[in-house]
Symmetry: D2
Subunit: 442 residues, 4 copies
């Protein structure tokens, strides 16, 4: 067996879990996290789903009160070393400076893993209060980069990596996260390193500092980078330092975005390997946008909380994510799942392809159709996904020869979970608009 | 006579004066300002020079102590309404909250006018201290735009003009400047409105707020915008709102920059009119960079404090600025002027062209030479400037017909201050490398 | 009086006329040209309209036969020196090598002037046939630039101006046009000099060669450059060499395009002066697109031949073109004009503003409204045009003070042709959606 | 064993050979090709070198006569179907329309393979002569795209793939090449598909037509695309259609270009697999630029015909090309090789790494150093290449742990061809400026 880098061992297969963003935005609370964890334990864990991830601004006590978005210059809760702590107003178990340790413990007790979101850089509050960086003689104003800021959130300054104390800051927060029992960290405002090409500052150095901090923190953690689109020319750097990186901007339940993902996957197909997972973003299925309901009027009318994807589109999405081997993070409020949604997430044959597929690549692409194939690393079966990207029912087919296959093949339909007649020469499927089929050929 | 807009009356001819930046950077003090004012009164005022302008960071007590550049997150001196006050450590007359009023008075007593520099936006300090905006119920964090920042100085946040209290801030500072007796304001980080095209935020709205604040402050003030290059496509907006706008990035004593100015002037030639002065930036002549001397070693060797322009290049610069009608702001430490520098700045015939020239435009341009002409609005004389842009001595000439002139003409050499033989058909001059000649044809 | 350059004397006021493009595309014929000339003589000439311009591809015998667009590699009619001749199939009077001379004579006899369109460069046919350039030992393949081509028409190669014989080609064609009696030349594929910024080749050198050829051809000709958008940073070069230059891409009867023109005019307002006319393109009024009728089905349905502009929009267009002082070239098939169209083109007070207005500039601009003013160079009246750019009826007003006016003023409505009550302080108009009003204040 | 696509079978390992460009430019002749073939047979064939490739403009009789560059509108030799034929003036065996068949036969007799260069598209000559496309009723002017041209060579027009007869053209030329016995085709002006992003035309469609023509021509041919840089976002399309694609613009004997190649390889490392070979371009070693000698003076002084790379730089280049698995095409005039050059090209251990290495990837990159590793697919050895990119002698090292290796390892130096002491923990080498070492660890 091939030896692997330590970083890659944290995510030998693409992570599967749930993230709070799609239903709770920046304002999730402890009860909501636990409700989703309980559902996962009961219904999803047997199929491999295991991460529960708390997304952005858990240190902001008033998140979501005035608006569904970020307050400028929000009063984040910091410890004496300028490190963010979960706000007890929203996470009662974090009281008395315990941070996320109690919550992580409860999640671990369910057999699950716990993840958190952070922003690149240091809190602006810590800078303007001139707080000390733990274990140094440095104050935050000395390591902050005054013009490296996030364009959509005002919580942080980027770090000037040339300054004494820069690495110490990242070491200090990952020391804390290790103590809490964090298994997965999603770092934001860091992935699309050329978002602002005129910027003299590069987030690449921060990625490296974070890698080093994780390697030294004493606990295994998955490192996930956001937002995308990641830059394909920087794939080497991402592969060396991270486990997951977003290949798109935020993904939502909109066919145009799903259609665009086929192009993203095409670009990134050769970069998928154990420990290295280009990330198509969350699955916006089931119940979503719950925290937007109270601002419905302000946002210009009622908010649709159920996914706007058709069932066929959801099958297409799940087929693409699974053959490409994207990480799978459910966006739904899980306790509200209906039967279709649960079945979508727990098809064992599709999830086997996600887990054991290898060398996935596109084999056909027209404006109206697409085909991908991969090979099961364990049993040698060939997986073939056919997609109808047009707005009308249509047949999609592939020549076996173009897949490098000869002779006749047994065929199993993975979504229908039934074995079809053997094929020779060509395999075809009649597909609904925006629909997909996945076959195993053996 | 044509009626004019009130804004334009503040600068019917291009302003002439002195600015502290080129010799003192961000660290000028009261004594230095007064020394230059006294020289101006004695030697330059009779020729029309009148503005004494204090450049950036007069509210920073420690400016220039550690570095010749800006400290990140510097401790600016603010009043209770978050308005910057001159630091008494550097401007003793500003003690007890008197601001620049005593200094302005002394300068006015000399028959001169007083100018200051400000940055667009509100102090970051005032934002993170949540200070109130004068005359409102608003605090600074409510009007600051968290991602509208200057890339080279960390003092300020831009203003979100959609917020209640935004205009009130600008009103409050111009009320203060009017009370001090300020005659000229150079606003920085505001002129090149498309420097960062991806930025959703536009400085155009801040320009308009400043215009409105000046119009309402009860005192006539010249409004100068920096840094450049201003965008020619926005000339209309600049003409409506400002008196001066920089057409280049910072200009220094380097032939390449001077050569590039010919292209800038070509682009902006049609935008010059009373009250509207595209600005070629300061004249880096005489003694410069005095505040860099103590960091000489750190900057990699001895600092040359005398201008690096040759005398011929200075003549070329002065000829271009004056025929184009750029504002004239001397960068030199005036008391150190030598005889050449003083003569350069006080040639009455060149300065008459600067004051009365009209319809200046380029009439010839090759890689090696250039010619400009204008017409004296009072006596009808035609001004012709010939430039040798090559690195060797060369003759430069122009056909009278190309200037729209016929017959023979009397010729006077303005730099030599003598009358030459009449010309027919063509006028020519033998010029040193990088040199110029200016003629009046009548 | 100010002396002027010879080039500028060819167009002391903005040219007014008719161009064949909007109704006949690339396939106009002699009968159509003459029909429009006769109408112009009878109805428009008294109001200053005088140019009849034959647009693109008059040397292509089969223009418009197969398609309403250009055939690739069309068989242009050339003389023995590779110069294009009008195809007698379409222009019978051009038989026996007489070119446009007979047609020009007939148009001159009506008291009108005659214009033609040409493409920058040399015919590809002449290059691949290795024809000689008149008066030289050079063949066309020696002066053609093999990669300087038009992207939308395959007739020509650009010229490599460094080659012997390059200027001779332009001299040879303008010698021919002078002999024919041409008064106006619209040169195409030449105006937007940075359309393809990666291109090492620049059309600026061709503009200069054409200028030189016209100056030497012995006949006064207006030089008009297309297509736009011209580049504002190159205004100096255009002013030195041309009389008209297009500030937009092709303009048609579409409100979005008309709305965009306000921004174009804003950018170019300072570049308007005798001999120098930024060009807003043809007026798509009345009967248009006649040559597209036979391809109607192919183009996806019936072709609307009448202008799609409302009457209010046409008033807005005419008001903007006239106060800005754009050249005026009617696109309509003139014999089909209705009463409104004729009245639109023959309002003597609006056309006086077009002829005598000076220093036109925008004085107000919001997303919904706009105001321009200019001053009558002869009688000193102030012209004020108010525009309602919104989609609903609305009042638009301007403060006299913002126009630099004081006291009370007499007001005349130029479109209504009646005198209104005097105004003090502010002038306002209630305007229909997309409508305009023009006033003279005295 | 994994099944493969037919296209990939043409190049299961990266092709090795010689190309005429670096020493003979566009003017190689039959004698020179054969001289290099004979050397290859005798000295290089035993090491795997086998392709002899004739580069650009073999149909131009006068290539290289007037200039070392391309004549505009050159008189290419065409057959009656507009297909280019080798000019007998330069390739005597091509007389009487035999084309390259006789030459290919002689090369095949030596046990070698024969390659040719072509430009994308159809000859402009065939278009303007309106020649017929073989096997169709179409003439060339009907399929040529009039504005799809190469910027640096005027021989061809691109093809409008939507036109009847477009595919027939490519079929007709590959039918001819198959009949000649061509084994390798380098297609030019086609690889960097977004070189001119404004261009509505895309070379992607031509790549697909060429792929289809090769698949149908009845002979196995390697398809190589030039020039680069290929666009990494289009890797999928290149992998589907081509065997080789250039990842750089032309590469020459200049350290700056070699240094830049490390970045190219970093970007493309995941795209290397059997049948798919990102191409670092020719190896400019030994005797080069022979055809430039006669224009020496015109080019500004004597031409250096020996490679300007130091021996250390050549080792670095060869190490990078071989561990990355670039195609290897020698640029030298082979008969002039010295002993060093021959040894450089015939190190059996380095060439084994080139042939059997797999999963090559960069493991370390600083501004001064670089390390790559791969794994021998047959014997499992780990290859490690260390590079000193600095301008001074320096030690470069790598941690075994960072390579995913543990314990101690046997080490062999492949360039020195000797076994070193075993290593534990770290492997290091003292390297000259711009030098490299390659180790096998087992």
């Amino acid at each position: 067996m091939q030896e692997m880098k330590k970083k890659d061992l944290a995510a030998l297969t693409p992570p599967m879990g749930w993230n709070s963003w799609d239903c709770f935005g920046n304002a999730v609370n402890e009860g909501q996290l636990l409700a989703n964890a309980r559902y996962m334990k009961e219904y999803l864990l047997p199929f491999g789903w295991e991460y529960v991830v708390c997304d952005i601004q858990w240190s902001e006590p008033h998140a979501g009160e005035k608006e569904p978005y970020y307050d400028p210059f929000a009063p984040l809760l910091l410890d004496e070393y300028g490190r963010q702590l979960p706000a007890p107003e929203r996470f009662p178990s974090a009281k008395e400076g315990q941070g996320f340790r109690p919550l992580a413990e409860r999640i671990h007790e369910m057999g699950l893993k716990f993840g958190i979101h952070i922003m690149r850089g240091v809190p602006r509050l810590a800078v303007h209060r001139q707080l000390p960086v733990k274990g140094t003689d440095t104050t935050y104003d000395e390591i902050a980069h005054p013009s490296s800021i996030c364009r959509w959130n005002s919580d942080m300054y980027g770090i000037d990596y040339t300054k004494e104390g820069a690495q110490a800051y990242y070491d200090s927060i990952f020391e804390l996260y290790a103590a809490w029992g964090v298994d997965y960290v999603k770092v934001d405002d860091i992935c699309n390193t050329n978002a602002y090409p005129e910027d003299p500052y590069s987030a690449e150095r921060e990625i490296e500092m974070i890698r080093k901090a994780i390697d030294g923190c004493g606990r295994t953690m998955v490192l996930s980078l956001s937002p995308g689109p990641a830059v394909i020319g920087k794939a080497w750097h991402l592969r060396e330092n991270a486990n997951l990186w977003r290949v798109t901007d935020d993904f939502w339940d909109d066919w145009k975005l799903l259609l665009a993902m086929f192009e993203r996957c095409e670009v990134w197909e050769r970069q998928v390997s154990p420990g290295c997972w280009p990330d198509c973003d969350m699955l916006p299925v089931g119940r979503l946008r719950l925290n937007y309901v109270k601002w419905a009027e302000r946002l210009g009318g009622p908010v649709e909380t159920w996914t706007k994807f058709t069932e066929d589109e959801q099958v297409t999405m799940m087929s693409l994510w699974c053959i490409f081997r994207s990480p799978l993070m459910v966006g739904a409020h899980l306790p509200d799942n209906d039967e279709f949604t649960l079945r979508l997430l727990t098809n064992p044959e599709i999830l086997r392809m996600h887990r054991f597929g290898t060398d996935a690549h596109q084999v056909l692409r027209t404006p109206e159709s697409c085909a991908w194939m991969s090979r099961d690393a364990e049993n040698g079966a060939v997986y073939l996904a056919l997609f109808n990207l047009s707005d009308e029912r249509a047949a999609v087919s592939a020549e076996l020869e173009d897949l490098g296959l000869s002779g006749s093949r047994h065929v199993r339909d993975l979504w229908e979970r039934r074995t079809l007649a053997d094929v020779i020469g060509r395999i075809a499927a009649e597909l609904p608009a925006h629909g997909a089929a996945v076959f195993a050929l053996s």
